[in-house]
Every structure is written in structure tokens, then in C-alpha cells.
Symmetry: C2
Subunit: 420 residues, 2 copies
């Protein structure tokens, strides 16, 4: 797959880019002490965190790479392995990927492939990469990484509403369990699986706690920071992430001042994933005077809003609960995706959302098509929506800024009872 020219380590430049981006986020911030850990962690994903994982690998642990929010971390933890995420947000890894993938293609996938080509340490550490069939891009791209890497494809059904779809998905979950046991040599027991479910449920409840404080008139944390925290949960040691996020939440709950005026337009971010370090969209919204109070995106609340509810702690019940829970996803890969609209409408009410920013990554058909339905339903509820299709480049920043500013002004004017 890789040519002699492109096969080189990207670490030094990626690390410095990551640090620069994080500094941009942090520089423009009110002081939230609990965020320091997350800024620092982000800067060190490809160095200190990678080293930690290397050490655990040397002790015999397996590393399970994945894409999307459909590969249950619970099974990975229960098998004594380490989950890591390969979705990527770097513009600089896109160029080598465009020698292999079409140019008119999802930047997240191109960036991820670029990582693979350029020898990202997290990719090198992965013993297997699990790719769910959430979209055409992911489904086909895994053939390419499969040329050099062990890959497992998980079939995500198009619906959550038929018995055959649910049966198929449960079989996929059971197959993953079997494959993980074979790869790691560890049997997934009722005890280890229960422990793993309890651990990820702690993460889920913490994410709700982090979002809860953002319901205030002036939230104590920027949306771009909250998104960093949830994004990092896919890379960090989960126990440490829980500890640090608990500290952050306690600080935020005690904090008396918000990060913005109470008049700042309250925005919900939804659509295609936003992945580090391309924080273009959240930065533009908040630099223009808005505040992201909630979201429905993969790196935010999407995968971890609802707990895994297990009626009885038997293996069969746990697997069924995991399968059901992972299908309770508002991903646009489902059709009809009514769960997403219900989620968005609930968030509008709960978070007093005044406007919705709909983010479409270039050539992302599933979120692209769904935008119209969502916009029309929100409009009926009196909530305006701004749809932007973009990629990881900086070329369209000023153009998006103009549209975002106009959108926020319109929301402010509406609130003041003016017509525009």
C-alpha cells in the first residue's frame, strides 16, 4: 500500500500541529483548571499515550483499533484489550491518501488512511482494526487497510426496527466476542463483561454530568472544550479519563461565572463527526459569539448518551443489552432515522437551543441527505438551522465565518424580538 516516498513517520509534525491547535483552543479560553489535563493529553496522544500503550502491549495486552461508535468497548475491555480509535482529523495526512482514495471523498477517512500510510504509532500498535459498515466510505476503505493489516468488518444493519436486523446485529456482536477471545487468548466471562459495562456506564453518566452544567444561562465551559473531553475518551485510559472528568465536572458545578454572556446564542452542533485537531467548526461558532451547549455528533454525546441497561447479569442478557444499546445510535446510517430527530428535538428543549449548526463533511452522503428533513422539522419548531459542507482545509474559513456571523446575528435579533 505505501510507497517508499510516503512511508515515513509523521509524528514530529503531527505532534507539533496538535500542540498548536490545542494552544489555539486554550488561548482563547476562560480559566478552567480541569481542562489542563485534557489539553496536555491531546498534545501527547502520539507520544506519551502511544508509549503507555506500547508498554501495555509489551506486557501482553492486545490493541483493538476501530472506527465509529459501533464497536463495543465493553467487549474489548472484558477481553483485557485496549480500544483505540482511528477516525482522524488531520489535513496533512490527506495528501498521501489521495493517491489511493478518490479526492471527492470523506476527509475523515482520507485522513485516517494517510495516518496508516505514514506510520501513525496508534495504527502500528493495533493488532486488528474493526470497521463497521456505517457508510460506503468506511466499508470500502477497509479493503485498502486490509492489504496490510488484519481487519474485521461488522455489518451494521440499515434499521433498528426489524427483527432480522436486530438478530443480525446480535450475531455480529457475538462474532466479535469470539474473535476477541481468540485474538487475546482471554475468555470473556460474565464477571469481566459486567465490570466492563459498569465502567463504560460510568463514562456515560459522566458525559451527561458534563452536559448538565451547560444548561445554565451562561455555561461554565466552552462547547469546544467539552468536545475535546468527550473526544479524548476514545484515546485515553478510561479509568484516568473518568477520574479527570469527575474533577472537571466538580469544578464546573462549583464555578459561579460562565464563559460567555447570557445573551450568547445557544447552538447545538450536529451532523458529520468533528475530529481533532480540526476544530474549525466549533472555533468558528464560538469565536463569532455563539456557545455550543450540546451536540449530536460521534465525538460528542452520540455514542455515549444512554446507559447500557442490563436486566439480568447473564452473558446472554449482557450481549443482548450491548447489541440493543449500540443500535440506539442516532447515526445517519440508519433509515428511517427517526431516533435522531427525536434526540435533536429533546436536546433543543433540554438545553434551550436557539440555533442548530449542521456540519457535513465533504461527500458525506448520509448526513448530507438527512439535513433537509432535520431542517424542516426544526423549522416547524421555530429553530433555525445553518448547514455547512466543509473539509479539513482552512480555505473556506472566512466564507464559513461570514455565514456563521450572519446566522448568530439573526438568532440574536430574533431573541430581541426584531425582524431581520
Amino acid at each position: 500500500m505505501a510507497t517508499a516516498d510516503t512511508k515515513k513517520k509523521v509524528d514530529p509534525s503531527l505532534v507539533s500541529q496538535m500542540a498548536q491547535k490545542v494552544n489555539e483552543i486554550a488561548d482563547s479560553n476562560e480559566t478552567v483548571k480541569g481542562m489542563e489535563y485534557f489539553y496536555d493529553f491531546t498534545k501527547m496522544i502520539y507520544t506519551s499515550r502511544a508509549d503507555e500503550i506500547t508498554k501495555e502491549k509489551e506486557e501482553g495486552k492486545k490493541v483493538i483499533g476501530s472506527f465509529c461508535n459501533f464497536v463495543p468497548d465493553e467487549l474489548v475491555f472484558a477481553a483485557g484489550a485496549i480500544p483505540i480509535r482511528h477516525c482522524a482529523g488531520f489535513q496533512d495526512t490527506i495528501l498521501p491518501a489521495e493517491e489511493i482514495l478518490p479526492r471527492n471523498f470523506c476527509p475523515l477517512i482520507k485522513s485516517a488512511l494517510g495516518f496508516f500510510i505514514m506510520g501513525d504509532p496508534l495504527y502500528e500498535q493495533a493488532d486488528v482494526v474493526v470497521v463497521p459498515t456505517t457508510c460506503d466510505g468506511k466499508k470500502k476503505f477497509c479493503e485498502i487497510i486490509g492489504e496490510e493489516k488484519s481487519t474485521w468488518v461488522m455489518e451494521v444493519p440499515h434499521t433498528t426496527e426489524t427483527s432480522q436486523a436486530r438478530e443480525l446485529w446480535l450475531k455480529e456482536i457475538k462474532l466479535l466476542k469470539k474473535n476477541l477471545e481468540k485474538l487475546t487468548g482471554n475468555r470473556i466471562t460474565s464477571k469481566s463483561l459486567r465490570k466492563a459495562i459498569e465502567l463504560t456506564n460510568k463514562k456515560r453518566s459522566l458525559i451527561r454530568r458534563l452536559y448538565e452544567v451547560r444548561k445554565k444561562d451562561s455555561p461554565p465551559i466552552w462547547g469546544r472544550d467539552a468536545l475535546l473531553v468527550t473526544s479524548i475518551s476514545h484515546f485515553d485510559n478510561l479509568n484516568r479519563w473518568i477520574e479527570k472528568t469527575e474533577e472537571l465536572c466538580s469544578e464546573l458545578e462549583a464555578k459561579e461565572t460562565g464563559v460567555c454572556p447570557e445573551t450568547a446564542p445557544r447552538i447545538m452542533l450536529t451532523g458529520s463527526p468533528v475530529f481533532m485537531p480540526t476544530w474549525k467548526v466549533p472555533m468558528l461558532i464560538e469565536d463569532s459569539g455563539g456557545i455550543i451547549v450540546t451536540d449530536d455528533i460521534c465525538t460528542g454525546s452520540k455514542g455515549f448518551w444512554d446507559p447500557i441497561e442490563v436486566p439480568h447479569w447473564t452473558m446472554e442478557d449482557m450481549l443482548l443489552s450491548i447489541a440493543d444499546r449500540y443500535l440506539m445510535n442516532t447515526c445517519a446510517c440508519f433509515t428511517p432515522n427517526t431516533a435522531r430527530l427525536i434526540r435533536l428535538q429533546g436536546f433543543v428543549e433540554d438545553f434551550n437551543v436557539q440555533g442548530v449548526f449542521y456540519h457535513i463533511l465533504q461527500a458525506c452522503h448520509i448526513y448530507g441527505v438527512e439535513a433537509r428533513r432535520i431542517e424542516s422539522a426544526l423549522k416547524a419548531d421555530g429553530i433555525p438551522m445553518l448547514t455547512i459542507e466543509t473539509d479539513y482545509s482552512q480555505e473556506d474559513v472566512e466564507q464559513i465565518r461570514t455565514r456563521v456571523e450572519a446566522f448568530l446575528e439573526m438568532i440574536s435579533a430574533r431573541r430581541k424580538g426584531q425582524t431581520v
Copy 2:
């Protein structure tokens, strides 16, 4: 879905466009008497053929619209209904669709949606539209037509190689049977299903017969004509299509002269579908001196190359055979799609193919990603491949012509033992 402005009948302009396109194909042709029927039929799809269907509907027959080659005609026929295809190839129906779908989207789907918006008679006649989840575009677009039309989604698994995928697909086939019986009020019996399988198997064997004559050094039929014949099988009364194609094949088998010099580069067409009336690609190849001797596209051999083989004529065996047969499709929706490469390599040998034209419709991710693998495998066999991404507009015709001409010259030069 439709606005007051866009809700109008397109027939007059579509009919004249179709006629004009057909005249272009026919004008540049050697005389093949048996083609007249197919030219005439194409001109009258939206008039005479639509009237025929209306008449049958008045007599109580149901019309089952569909996309792709995954909705078994056999079940439709056995339920006493009429299958029609909604995939579309008109540039002029794209504009109204772009008010609803992203611009950066498959032209086939945009054109189909434009038809729906503009009141195409074949769409109006459909009692239900069956949409298989072959690609993200089709999967999500069916939510839009579902706002006005009854739609059934069929889940196509991503693989043909696991038992859970085959089980799911068999369940989808059985559900379709049940739904068709309910809609039509006709029970699908072993007798009616066997008759339907025998009918479509006749079509399948005729398609092989039509392709067989193209193995000659100078084929007696242009590839663009053969593609018209196979395309029409999705719209015509199948018994009549069989009769007319038998006549055509007999004529071609007796014909002593070919349509082109024996030195014309022998091309295989593959990739995204080519749909009437946008015959841009086959016309460009053959106007530039090449001859399309075979293909692996949806409107050509793809859906109907292999017969449905039924070991015992029981209902269960027939359904299983149908399910298995429809998964024996070389569609790029599958991963890994090894069947496609095997098919292409077989065709290269059987049809003495000298070059492959790989057609990608704009933003068609599944065929787009697969191009690289196919090209590299063919290259190893000494077969060059030209990949073109295009849409239904005429804007890129001259640009493509230049590339096609250079490609054909290179093939000719190779054959003459020259180096280029």
C-alpha cells in the same frame, strides 16, 4: 416533496430527448434490422409503454418499481405484478432534484428523484418502490420518495460470505414475497414461481447469446446497441423482449460482416451504471474507434449473467436459489468484492479484451474506491485500464474524448508491437 413550480409533467421534453439520443445512436450505426424494435421502444418508454402499463393496471395488475439488480423480478412476476426500474439517466431531471439532494451526489439518483418530482408516468404507476440498501445514496434517498410514495427497503448485506449475511438476505427475500402477496392479493405458488424463474432464465440465457456473438474478431453489433437491448429488458414486457431479442440474436449469428475493423481495440466497460439516455461513455468509446465487446455494469451483463439454478422445485428451494443468485452479483456494495475481479478476469479472456474502461459516476464511492484494486490486478495481467469519473452533463465530453482517443491509440500501438 414537490413544490408548485416543479410539479409538472416532463413527458414532452423527455420523450423528444430520448428520441434524439436514440437517433444519435442509430444514425452512426451499421444496419442491424433487429435493432429497430429496440430503438423504437426506447423512444416510446414514456408514451406507448406507459400506456400499456396503465391498461394492465386498469385490469387490476400492480406495478412494482425498483432500483438496482437486487429486487427479484421472479417474485414480482409470480405475484402477477409488473416490475419497472426507476434508475434514471436524464441530465434534465437533475436540476429540480438538487433543491433536495446535495449537489455532490450520484447523478443517477438525482435524475431519478427529478423524475419523481416532475411526475414521470412510470413513477406515478408504481404501487410501491422497492429500494435495496446497495449504497448510501439509495438508502437515504428512499426516505425522500417515502414522503409521497409507499417504499420498501431491502437490506443487502455487505458480504456474501458469512452465514448470517445469507440468512438475513433470505429473510429479506421472504419478506418481499409476503409483502408482494399482500399488495397484489395473489398468493405466490410453487407453480407461478417456477414459471417466473423459467421466464427470467430465458432472459439470462439470451443475454449470454447476445454477448456470445460479440466474441468474433469483428463483432456484428456495437456495444452501445447491445447495452440498449439489455437496458430495455428492465422496462419492456419480458415475453416480447425475449421474442425480439431472439430475432436479433438470430440475425446477428447469421450476419457475415462486423460493425468495425478487426483492428478496433476491444474494450470492456465496467464500473457505475450507464443509464439511458446518457449514452455518453459508450458513444465516446465507439466513436473514437473502439468496440465494447463486453461489460460488467448493472444495465449490461451484471444482473443477468448467471441462471437461477434450482435443485428441487419446492418453494423453499426456489426462494433459497433466488436469494443465492441475487447475492451472486458483482456489485461494489460488497466487501471484499472478489467475485467482481474473477468475473472481469474471466471476461478479459473470453472476449479477448484489450483494454478496460472504468466508469465512475460522480461521488459513487463504492465503485470509486474499487477502481484501484481492479486496475492493479488487470495491469498484472497486461490489460490497461482507463478510469473516468463523470456525470450526465455534456461539459466534459471533449476532455473525455481526448483521454479515450489516447487510450485507444496506446492499445493499438501495443498490438502492433510498438512502444509508446
